[in-house]
């Protein structure tokens, strides 16, 4: 009944295959890379096997490919495994940074043998993107863990190399693998595998080559949690007397450490309205800065002033239809769009904006008395809203729409008289006063109050929701101000408010606060 003669087993061979795991997302060409490696090995007289668990046809989920290769021996047929075993993988190729992290969590990396080839670019998962605040996973944790768990790490942005050479990331990763000198095959053999496969050969070879050279020159690239902010340096002169007067005020009124942020704020408000608005901004800020100085700000590096400079600028440049129109019709914006889309010179581009102004937005821009008049007449308001409120596709490259937006943008001359402006200023008053009240007693809490302005953002319903979260969080200040770590509490509440849309995280943070306050 046996398929092979029985007998005492012969001596066991010590041969072991080289094992390679590829972690990719659907659509990244993990299958192509896997086929190239198999073809490469077979072309060099090696035995090879690959498998995968790709799941359904969609292009988004995480997929793992697994390859084993072994130099062929006459008359022997190796038996390859169908899945990677933790601690038994020689090469891990991750087509995205978090997938490298996933490989580590699966135990695929071992400090004594595994080479990790990882692209440091990020393709964000839905759970990272949907957070109202900043939900982007910290890339530095992956790199730190890789240092501990891999024998050797080759990590840089392979996606960018691919894009720069018109190829796919799979070709870049094959280039890195070739340059890493782990597999005993010549570079030409790798390139032959690409040629044999026959699809997009030229761009793949170009990408392969670029990634190969890059690996030889600079196999590592640092990753950062949040890229550095572009803080401008204060120029000696801005080439315009009124602007220079603003620069003069910044230099005279603020310590040098905070001047960059103040200048950033001034830049924004002047761009938003006019240079006089810059003076109004500085009037407010100077008043608050004097309080900062009076309450020991020097020892705290004037954090109160820095935060106020930042959020006051944001608050004073609230988004209204005039601002949106202004930004949409600028020459610089037209240039940026062409560059972003990658429009070539001989090509024409039409731009369609998706706008949905409601009566609320129209009222924002009306003179305050007229706005209030309408507000008191809900039926009239609703009737007008029915006329105004609908989605409008605005062709900014057409003369008709361009001129309409252009005219709207120039309505900023009337902005100061609008209902919205009056409301925003009143809001700023209340908010900065709340902050200033706490400055004498608790500097850190006062600074955190300022930072809560971060909660207000977005348009229409999202904006309203942000506002209500802001009110709710600031409304809790009386409950937490007596706690020893009041500033931390407020920071925690703010972070919770940014964690999800519905405010569930905020609800539980408030509960925790209740428990702490009653202790």
């Amino acid at each position: 009944m046996s398929a092979q003669p029985l007998g005492r087993s012969r001596a066991l061979s010590a041969d072991k295959p080289i094992s390679i795991a590829i972690l990719a997302m659907g659509g990244q060409g993990g299958g192509v890379l896997s086929n190239w490696i198999v073809a490469l090995a077979e072309s060099q007289g090696w035995a090879a096997q690959s498998t995968s668990v790709p799941g359904v046809a969609q292009r988004t989920g995480a997929t793992i490919y697994y390859i084993e290769i072994l130099a062929a021996r006459a008359g022997k047929r190796p038996i390859f495994a169908l899945m990677p075993t933790p601690g038994d993988v020689d090469i891990v190729i991750a087509a995205e940074l978090m997938e490298a992290g996933r490989a580590m969590l699966r135990g695929l990396l071992s400090p004594d043998r595994t080479t990790l080839i990882a692209s440091t670019h990020r393709s964000l998962a839905v759970v990272e993107k949907q957070v109202p605040g900043d939900g982007i996973a910290d890339p530095t944790t992956i790199v730190e863990a890789a240092e501990m768990t891999a024998r050797r790490v080759i990590a840089f942005d392979m996606q960018r190399v691919a894009e720069g050479n018109g190829g796919a990331i799979s070709a870049a990763m094959l280039g890195v693998l070739a340059a890493a000198d782990i597999l005993p095959f010549a570079r030409s053999a790798f390139e032959s595998a690409i040629r044999e496969e026959g699809k997009g050969v030229e761009s793949s070879l170009r990408t392969f080559s670029a990634a190969f050279e890059r690996t030889r020159e600079r196999p590592r690239e640092a990753v950062t949690r949040v890229p550095d902010k572009r803080l401008p340096t204060l120029p000696a002169s801005a080439g315009h007397p009124t602007l220079d007067r603003l620069l003069q005020r910044i230099r005279a009124g603020f310590p040098s450490a905070v001047q960059a942020m103040v200048f950033t704020g001034v830049k924004r408000v002047v761009d938003y309205q006019d240079s006089e608005y810059g003076n109004e901004y500085l009037d407010r800020l100077e008043k608050l800065h004097r309080l900062d100085v009076a309450h020991g700000g020097a020892k705290k590096e004037y954090r109160f002033t820095v935060e106020t400079a930042k959020y006051l600028a944001v608050a004073m440049t609230y988004e209204d239809v005039v601002r949106v129109a202004d930004l949409k019709v600028r020459a610089s914006r037209f240039r940026r769009v062409r560059a972003e889309i990658g429009v070539k010179n001989e090509q024409i581009v039409h731009l369609t904006e998706y706008m949905h102004p409601r009566m609320e937005e129209v009222m924002d821009t009306l003179p305050a008395p007229l706005g209030r008049f309408l507000e008191r007449r809900p039926r009239l308001f609703r009737a007008l809203d029915r006329i105004v409120s609908r989605g409008r596709r605005v062709r900014t490259d057409s003369l008709r729409w361009f001129i309409a937006l252009y005219a709207l943008a120039s309505a900023k001359a009337f902005r100061r008289a609008s209902l919205r402006h009056a409301r925003e200023l009143a809001h700023i008053e209340r908010w900065t006063r709340t902050a200033a009240v706490h400055l004498p007693g608790n500097y850190d809490l006062a600074t955190e109050v300022v930072a809560c302005r971060r909660l207000i953002k977005g348009y229409s319903d999202t904006h309203a929701r942000g506002n209500s979260k802001f009110d709710r969080v600031l409304g809790l200040v009386p409950r937490l101000e007596s706690l020893p770590d009041a500033a931390d509490w407020l920071r925690r509440l703010r972070e919770a408010a940014l964690a999800d849309e519905q405010g569930e995280a905020l609800d539980s943070a408030v509960k925790a606060l209740g428990a702490a306050a009653s202790r």
Binding site: P78, I79, L105
Partner: protein
């Protein structure tokens, strides 16, 4: 198979005697069918066996040359019923589907087929969707083999063994007048390997001959008393003949030394993992040498009692390596040894996990414990098997668990189903959360973030039936969502017609994306592609009307979010009674891009005027609230950190993979989100007149922009 070409794979089907076939396991099966003289092939697509169907659908010439009939069946039940051709005639037939879900659907036909038995070889190729990467409940096909008395082959996962199992399966089926099932796990279906091909075989007896000379026998009909006789026949004739065939043809294999204290009894499919585990333990090598005796069951049902008893007789103990639960093999082995009064200890699920994927590491652990108990001398040697535990204990690595985000499959870039669920989410904002009954297909990804819509699924085409109890007067109506695949598979009768007949008051949304998309984009009756092989272009709306639905709304552009929301709102609030059916139709973007992209590139190269659409975000206008993402989740719409010191949170950004489907704009318009989005229509090879007009317009616009720039007193950027 509409939009993907399998031309290269089809060529592989023509390989001749002695040539080397290189490719995937499931394609090796396809070639093996042709080598076995099969007369007809059918099936229902699904991972991991879709490629078998796809390649045959493209292989019309090859099939015609051999006189083979192929069809993409309406369901697994239809496929199983197709095997009826082999009942009275010496025709070899093969069908395939995803198991166990497909086997569940096919059971009605399989039960009847297995009762009467077959004359020609009937082979069912099961894509055993089990373990990692599986998308279905974790059950075993083994149970179907036992309950209906069909044979189950589970070959070693290499191409030679798989191909041999196909040929053995037909022969076994014919020798015992019983349908045989061939089980292939996901990784075996996708394993890349090679085997030496044989010539394709033209069936000796043709379908035409069978059709022109009908045969009948009342003995084969499942009617008493014949049906009772079938049962006797199964037990007294077919079963013993199968056991005899398996023995005589050595379908099961022995490896390792003939004698030994202990042994391993394993499913063929577990062979590679068991061998690697033994290698880690220093008891085997990569070339298949083993210090431990192995009994490899390439046929897992029926068990050959005498054969396995012979293997066990002289051993102190054996361990059964059998994936999934219940432990049918272990139980059968215990019973067989007990009956033969053999005292060998039988282990299995006491050393190995009860359920789940049997990974190499788990098998190694189980075997190691088993050996420690019965053969410590074997494991006493110094072995260094891979151990990830120390690495996994590293604090820095453990911290990753909180960082690495889950990445489940979701809607593709530009998917036409995304705006449907965006509209549903917007409808919920007005009308509150509703009971949403889900189905099988891409649309079930709506249960995941960011949509979080729907919470259950009862099976293919059953979403309507799944809400049938909720047919009482209430303040809200239930909603069922099903795809076009589910609709034609079973939905028309079980969900739609059922709702009409029972005067159901709910809403049924049928998503018509022109393909059976989740399984790889196969054609179905409502597909828009003209097909010479199949009859397509049968509108779902007409079918729905035909079974008596009065309230039907057809939307031919799912991206119209505002309209979709209006229709949903109407369906949920109209006083009209009876099922409200919404057919939301737009082409699957994955397949559309496959179809359109080459055409586009050709047109550009030919100097023709074409327009590419894509979306962008004005970073200045975006405030980083991500409301747009919570209504999208599109892979091409992401966020990025801004270098603007005044922006804390990342801003939205669209990358070059955007296909310009329109969802972003429509959603921000319908939900009144923000005016950051713009659509750019890039005109390739514009006409001269067009260029002239554009330049004129740009001149005026530029002039106005220069005036504005001059007037603006602002700091340089």
């Amino acid at each position: 198979m509409a939009e993907r070409s399998f031309a290269k794979e089809v060529e592989d089907l023509r390989l001749r005697e002695g040539e080397i076939f290189r490719g995937e396991g499931i394609l090796a099966v396809t070639k093996a069918l042709l080598q076995s003289g099969v007369s007809y092939v059918g099936g229902y697509q699904g991972s991991p066996i879709s490629h078998l169907m796809d390649v045959l659908a493209d292989a019309r010439d090859v099939l015609d040359e051999l006189g083979i009939h192929f069809e993409a069946c309406a369901s697994e039940a239809a496929a199983a019923a197709m095997l009826s051709a082999s009942v009275m005639h010496p025709l070899r037939g093969a069908v395939t589907w995803k198991s166990t879900v497909g086997t569940n659907v096919a059971s009605d036909a399989l039960t009847n087929l297995a009762s009467g038995g077959v004359t020609g070889g009937a082979l069912i190729v099961l894509g055993e969707d089990f373990g990692e990467g599986s998308s279905v409940p974790q059950e075993r096909s083994h149970a179907f083999a036992m309950k209906s008395q069909m044979w189950l082959l589970d070959p070693r996962p290499n191409l030679e063994s798989i191909v041999k199992a196909v040929e053995d399966g037909f022969a076994l089926s014919e020798a015992s007048n019983t349908p045989a099932m061939l089980q292939l796990r996901i990784r075996a279906c996708h394993v890349h390997g090679q085997f030496v091909a044989r010539n394709n075989v033209r069936p000796g007896f043709t379908l035409r001959e069978a059709l022109e000379k009908p045969r009948r026998s009342v003995d084969r009909v499942v009617l008493p008393p014949a049906s009772l006789a079938h049962d006797k026949e199964k037990l007294e004739q077919r079963w013993p003949r199968a056991v005899e065939f398996i023995r005589a043809h050595r379908l099961n294999e022995l490896f390792g030394p003939g004698e030994g204290e202990i042994g391993i009894v394993l499913q063929g499919g577990m062979y590679n993992s068991v061998m690697r585990a033994l290698q880690f333990l220093g008891l085997a090598d990569v070339y298949g040498e083993s210090s431990v005796p192995l009994y490899v069951m390439n046929v897992t049902y029926p068990m050959v009692d005498a054969e396995v008893a012979d293997f066990c007789r002289s051993k102190r103990a054996v361990i059964v390596v059998e994936e999934g639960h219940p432990a049918y093999l272990e139980q059968a082995l215990i019973a067989a040894l007990h009956r033969s009064e053999i005292g060998t200890r039988v282990h299995g699920k006491d050393f190995l996990p009860l359920g789940g994927d049997y990974t190499t590491a788990l098998i190694e652990k189980g075997l190691s414990n088993f050996l420690a108990k019965y053969a410590p001398a074997l494991v006493a040697r110094e072995v260094r098997s891979p151990d990830a535990a120390p690495t996994l204990a590293n604090k820095k690595l453990q911290a990753l668990a909180a960082v690495v985000p889950p990445r489940p499959a979701g809607f593709c870039t530009g998917c036409p189903e995304r705006p449907i669920f965006a509209a549903m989410k917007l409808t919920e904002k007005k009308l509150g959360q509703h009971h949403v009954s889900g189905d099988i297909g891409c649309h079930i990804f709506s249960v995941l973030p960011p949509f979080n819509i729907g919470g259950n699924t009862m099976g293919y085409g059953l979403s309507g039936a799944g809400m049938s109890a909720f047919n009482v007067k209430a303040g809200k109506r239930p909603i069922a969502v099903m795809g076009d695949g589910g609709f034609w598979h079973n939905g028309l009768s079980s969900s739609i017609s059922n709702a009409v007949f029972n005067k159901h008051d709910g809403v049924i949304v049928i998503i018509d994306n022109h393909y059976s998309a989740a399984t790889g984009g196969q054609d179905i009756p409502s597909s828009r592609a003209a097909s010479s092989r199949a009859s397509t272009n049968h509108p779902i709306a007409e079918a729905v009307k035909g079974v008596g639905v009065k309230w039907i709304r057809q939307l031919d552009r799912t991206y119209d979010v505002a309209r979709m929301r209006a229709v949903l709102t109407e369906a949920l609030t109209t006083p009209e009674e009876g099922p409200k059916v919404i057919i939301a139709s737009s082409e699957c973007m994955l397949n559309k891009q496959r179809r359109v992209k080459p055409q586009f590139n050709r047109a550009v190269a030919d100097g023709k005027r074409v327009v590419r659409e894509r979306f962008g975000v004005d970073e200045d206008v975006c405030t980083g609230d991500h409301a747009c993402i919570r209504l999208s989740g599109c892979p091409s719409l992401s966020v990025k950190h801004s270098d603007d010191p005044l922006k804390d949170d990342p801003v939205a950004a669209i990358d070059n993979s955007c296909v310009g489907c329109g969802n972003c704009g429509e959603v921000s318009e319908a939900a009144v989100l923000c005016p950051s989005f713009y659509k750019a229509d890039v005109v390739y090879n514009p006409t001269r007149l067009e260029r002239l007009l554009t330049n004129a317009r740009a001149g005026i616009i530029g002039f106005l922009q220069r005036i504005a720039d001059r007037r603006r007193v602002a700091f340089a950027d």
